[in-house]
């Protein structure tokens, strides 16, 4: 990818929900191929930021620029399918863009759900549902994948698998990934850049920088540091063999 201009860029973003200011003075940008994670406590405006970036919420101040023709693969935090609406998995995957039968089949294979083609959306388990949401997002061949607490409701093993899949997706499609999560140690170690949010951007940078930042410690304490180091180690190990180019990303976006 030669064009490295930001996919989405926000400046001085402020979002009000009623009288409450959910986000203030947020600057944000994400470039092609980057993995950025937003962490923050409950009610810190993580989902709000994501929804503002896709255009679902109008900011009360500031600007958001999306690259013209940007394809967003959005995986929402949760999705309620009305019981009155009959919807098979295959049909859901075709919303809003039609895809060939083969593409649908491949997407389900890839998501590890080959047998769910004709299953009703309303009877899927939490893990299956998340995977279907991801498969739908990937079918749109996104430039950027946006995931809002994608592993909510999954057990530890399930979420670890899910994140492994996200990394694989990033490698194959070379799309940017923007995630919101509170599973700090798992998510942060997989990210190029972490943004710590609490109504405003507390701190940001590589996982190492953020994890040691006093602002971050003040929000989350130091309890996760050990786990982070542990995971970081095994992860780095895999890096060296599989995709050393990641390291160069770290350098690039260290703030």
């Amino acid at each position: 990818m030669t064009d490295t201009s930001p996919l989405i860029e926000a400046e001085g973003l402020e979002v009000k929900r009623g009288a409450h200011v959910a986000l203030r003075n947020v600057d944000f940008s994400i470039r092609p191929g980057e993995i950025v994670t937003i962490v923050g406590p409950n009610g810190s405006g993580k989902s709000t930021l994501l929804r503002a970036l896709i255009g679902a919420i109008q900011p009360s101040a500031g600007t958001i620029r999306r690259k013209p023709g940007l394809r967003i693969g959005y995986v929402p935090q949760s999705l309620h399918v009305e019981p009155g609406l009959p919807l098979t998995v295959a049909r859901f995957l075709k919303l809003p863009t039609r895809h060939s039968k083969k593409a649908i089949k491949d997407a389900l294979e890839y998501a590890g759900l080959p047998d769910l083609h004709d299953r009703q959306m309303s009877v899927l388990s939490g893990g299956q549902f998340q995977r279907v949401l991801l498969a739908r997002a990937l079918l749109e061949k996104p430039d950027i994948l946006m995931l809002d607490e994608p592993t909510q409701g999954l057990d530890q093993r399930g979420s670890a698998e899910f994140y492994r899949q996200i990394e694989a997706v990033r490698r194959e499609l070379n799309c940017a990934v923007l995630m919101v999560s509170h599973e700090l140690h798992v998510v942060m170690s997989a990210s190029d850049r972490v943004i710590c949010l609490n109504g405003h951007v507390c701190c940001s940078g590589t996982p190492e920088i953020v994890a040691t930042a006093p602002e971050y410690r003040a929000l989350f304490g130091t309890g996760t540091k050990g786990a982070l180091a542990l995971y970081r180690h095994t992860h780095d190990h895999a890096h060296d063999h599989d995709h050393p180019q990641l390291d160069h990303h770290h350098e690039d976006h260290a703030i």
Partner: protein, 257 residues
């Protein structure tokens, strides 16, 4: 009789896809509110001496827009609709009573008067139905995506507010053409019952809409036949037949399990 049958089928076909959206978006009460506003439309149309169809269309549309813009301002939607629907109905009924000199067949508007459908009425019904179908079919995918998740729609470049507006518009148009067939009080029934019946028999949204159209048409024909033989009021007879279909569908889906 043939005119009545054609009117019934035309209305049923137009109502089918919209009825599905009404069910999917939990807008049943919204349909009611818009329909009740139609009585006010009738009164205004008669007072201003403009065609009833135009008056109904205008008030139904206005009602839709008011609900659309007031929703999310502190009242639960069902409270808001309760206030608006019955106020509109009451104002309409009062307004009708002021129309001295004009003899208004109120029953005809409340319960429909399908047997008195004229050729121009038919043209309006089928023209309206065609417009609704064209609108809904062209935007089917966007409408469906917005219905399932507004955020998902936005991320794909669809504006869910706009899709909502289109549905409101189509709903107002449906009510304006259905008033002659089943009347103000039973329009919601014609929207919701065939869709609900089709629900338990279908596995996909498209099947459900199609099936709702077939069931609605059969209800219209069955109701006409019933009304002809037993000399019952036609609009309610149509709804009765639709309700019987609904019961049957419940039994069928229960037997399948």
């Amino acid at each position: 009789m043939i005119r009545a049958a054609l009117a019934g089928i035309g209305t049923a076909i137009a109502a089918a896809p919209l009825g599905c959206f009404v069910v999917w978006r939990r807008m049943a009460y919204f349909g009611d509110a818009t329909a009740h506003a139609a009585i006010l439309g009738v009164a205004l149309a008669l007072a201003l001496q403009i065609p009833v169809f135009g008056g109904v269309l205008a008030t139904a549309l206005a009602m839709g827009l008011i609900v659309h813009s007031l929703s999310g301002r502190g009242f639960a939607t069902d409270t808001l609709l309760g206030v608006l629907a019955h106020s509109a109905l009451a104002f309409g009924l009062v307004a009708v009573s002021f129309l001295s000199g004009v003899r208004v067949d109120l029953m005809g508007y409340l319960f429909g008067d399908i047997l008195a459908v004229s050729v121009p009425d038919l043209a309006i019904i089928w023209g309206g139905a065609a417009a609704i179908l064209l609108l809904v079919l062209r935007r089917w995918s966007s409408l469906l995506t917005s219905t399932i998740s507004p955020d998902l729609a936005t991320s794909s470049g669809i504006d869910p507010r706009r899709e909502q507006m289109i549905l409101t518009l189509a709903l107002a148009l449906t009510i304006a053409i259905a008033i002659k067939v089943v009347g103000v009080l039973l329009i919601s029934a014609l929207l919701v019952i065939p869709a609900a019946t089709a629900r338990s028999l279908s596995r996909g949204p498209e099947t459900m809409a199609l099936l709702a159209g077939v069931l609605g048409s059969l209800s219209a024909l069955g109701g006409l036949a019933l009304s002809y033989r037993a000399d019952t009021p036609t609009g309610p007879s149509i709804v009765c037949v639709a309700a019987v279909f609904f019961l049957l569908s419940l039994m069928v889906s229960a037997a399948r399990r």
